[in-house]
């Protein structure tokens, strides 16, 4: 337990502003971006190692994740119709600018990579099989069957011939954007004045990478025939382990600033996420090809990854809302080092 810190404030009011991002938009975007990023990498590896079914599943997951994520991102804006202003500048000092470019390229690549699948230049049966069960179930059978055929029919033969090759190339390229997609969001949060996020800038990327792997592994397990889902299970297990380890390091290293991660609503969310993720990971390790265990594990990991993102947003809000987390570390820095206030960067940012 961290000893109660003495500090002064203006009537207990926060010093900094809380993140204005909404639920579920922001956490859903973090989850979907991670899912899409890790699934893209799985798609590449599955393709290279000749696991066609897993490759199809991964490509579709990556494309759906990126598209749905982008939709949440746009909906979160105060002026959604101005979304394209994100691509007005290319600004390395802004993780959100870099992220917008990563998302734009990544969603394009994953869409092209998934197009041959969705446009049925591969056998339709394989498409249906590769879609997550929930998606297929929610669409009328007639639509799933007729849509790809209709679209293909309307495309020139040349296009359909070229699509698979373009898809493979795009998939390979998404193996580069995917890992960025899954981890840049950690920099997005850390590059703020929110103490619990900023001080966690070492662990957050690993936490998010683990969470992304767990999410993508879970999607692979749920939507691929179990005999071929072995690597997806392994991805899920490694992801759950990485997320759990990064979370443990984060909470033990941050001290006072890390309090919001284990208190209040954020604490409850993150404890639930830890149980779901660790439990799901353990189940995935022993599930083998058991139908029930696989389903349980996949759902637990999906829920764990999602709840983690809600918990992290909530911890940031709690951290910003209490002046203690802003004032005390800064005071200690001033007094402990007995020096003038901190220095700005040596070099001017543009």
């Amino acid at each position: 337990m961290v000893p109660e810190a003495e500090f002064r404030s203006y009537y207990g009011q926060p010093v900094i502003k809380s993140p204005v991002w909404h639920e579920p938009h922001m956490p859903a975007y973090l989850y979907l971006g991670g899912l899409s990023g890790a699934a893209a990498v799985m798609g590449v590896m599955a393709g290279l190692s000749g696991r066609d079914r897993l490759a199809l599943t991964s490509r579709v997951t990556a494309a759906l994740g990126a598209t749905a994520g982008a939709a949440f991102l746009v909906a979160e804006l105060g002026r959604p119709e101005r979304f394209l202003n994100m691509l007005r500048v290319f600004k390395p000092t802004s993780p959100m600018s870099m992220g917008s470019w990563i998302l734009a390229v990544h969603s394009g690549l994953t869409a092209v990579a998934a197009a041959p699948v969705l446009l049925a230049t591969r056998p339709a049966s394989r498409i249906a099989a590769s879609l997550p069960a929930a998606v297929t179930a929610s669409l009328p059978a007639a639509v799933t069957a007729s849509l790809p055929a209709a679209v293909t029919a309307s495309l020139p033969a040349a296009v359909t011939a070229v699509l698979p090759a373009a898809g493979d190339a795009a998939s390979l390229a998404s193996g580069v954007t995917g890992p960025l997609m899954a981890t840049y969001t950690a920099v997005l949060l850390a590059d703020t004045a929110v103490p619990a996020w900023h001080e966690a800038h070492r662990e957050l990327p690993f936490l998010f990478a683990g969470s992304a792997l767990a999410a993508a592994g879970a999607a692979g397990m749920l939507a691929t025939p179990r005999a071929q889902a072995g690597p997806a299970r392994a991805v899920a297990v490694l992801g759950a382990a990485l997320e759990t380890a990064a979370g443990a390091v984060l909470e033990s290293r941050l001290g006072l600033v890390g309090e919001p991660y284990h208190q209040g609503r954020a604490g409850r969310l993150l404890r639930a996420a830890r149980v779901l993720t660790a439990g799901g990971g353990l189940l995935a390790a022993v599930a083998g090809r058991g139908r029930v265990l696989t389903a349980l594990s996949g759902l637990a990991l999906t829920a764990g990854s999602l709840v983690t993102r809600f918990g992290i947003l909530e911890a940031g809000r709690a951290s910003a809302a209490d002046p203690k987390y802003t004032v005390v570390p800064q005071r200690r820095r001033l007094e402990g080092e007995g020096r003038a206030p901190a220095r700005a960067p040596a070099r001017m940012w543009p």
Partner: protein, 288 residues
Amino acid sequence: MAERMGFFTDTSVCIGCKACEVACKEWNDIPDDGFVFRATSYDNTGSLGASTWRHVAFIEERSRVPADQDRDGDDGSGGIEGWLMSSDVCKHCTHAACLDVCPTGALFRTEFGTVVVQADVCNGCGYCVPACPYGVIDRRERDGRAFKCTMCYDRQLGGLEPACAKACPTDSIQFGPLDELRARAAERVERLHGEGRPEARLYGDSPDDGVGGAAAFFLLLAEPEVYGLPPDPVVTTRDLPAMWRWAAGAALSLVGAVAVSFLSGGVLPGEGATGRTGARGRRGGWRR
């Protein structure tokens, strides 16, 4: 580029009249910011925000009388030692986090060295809001965009001083070229020290601080946190290169984890012997 302009807010002469708040609202045509009774002091504005670009903090300091001598305020003034008043505003930082992180380029640096949002570019992403180490800028939810003090960019272009400085009856808010203001502030703090007020100190005047110096700086009579100001703010982007390095490490780990998963053939303890793959898999899972 014109000379860098700034505000020197000398709180030792502030009388808490809030003329600056009103002048700012009027000139900039800012909508209301809520009618809240805060029950703290003579301040129902609360804090800076999307619709509050000047905020007068009002602190009633209690004397630290030993408990046994404290007659519980029977004369009505019980233990009130003094009033602290300070008109807060955007600092127009040299290294401005809001400007660094803005993904649309809506926030920009003007020829006066100030930091201004272009309302026709901002898409309301909200990133600048938690990035500011002073909690200045905010998103106006019913409008969707972010707003903050412009140091009256329009008035400056017309050769006028900002509305708040113009309206301040005691010259607590002084506007001018930053270098001049810094020299004047150093003199003022020395004079106060000479008059037996050792608690007087400058805040945000040093180009060596965590934001590279603020264009709007203050003379305070207590620790900054008493006024709701961070004692040692640092622009968050100072650590951005380190953040990207850690993220790159995590991204590589992600690739490594996927590679290991596939190269190991995805064999986990629960997989059983590899030979059983085909038959069971097909029966249980293929949806053809």
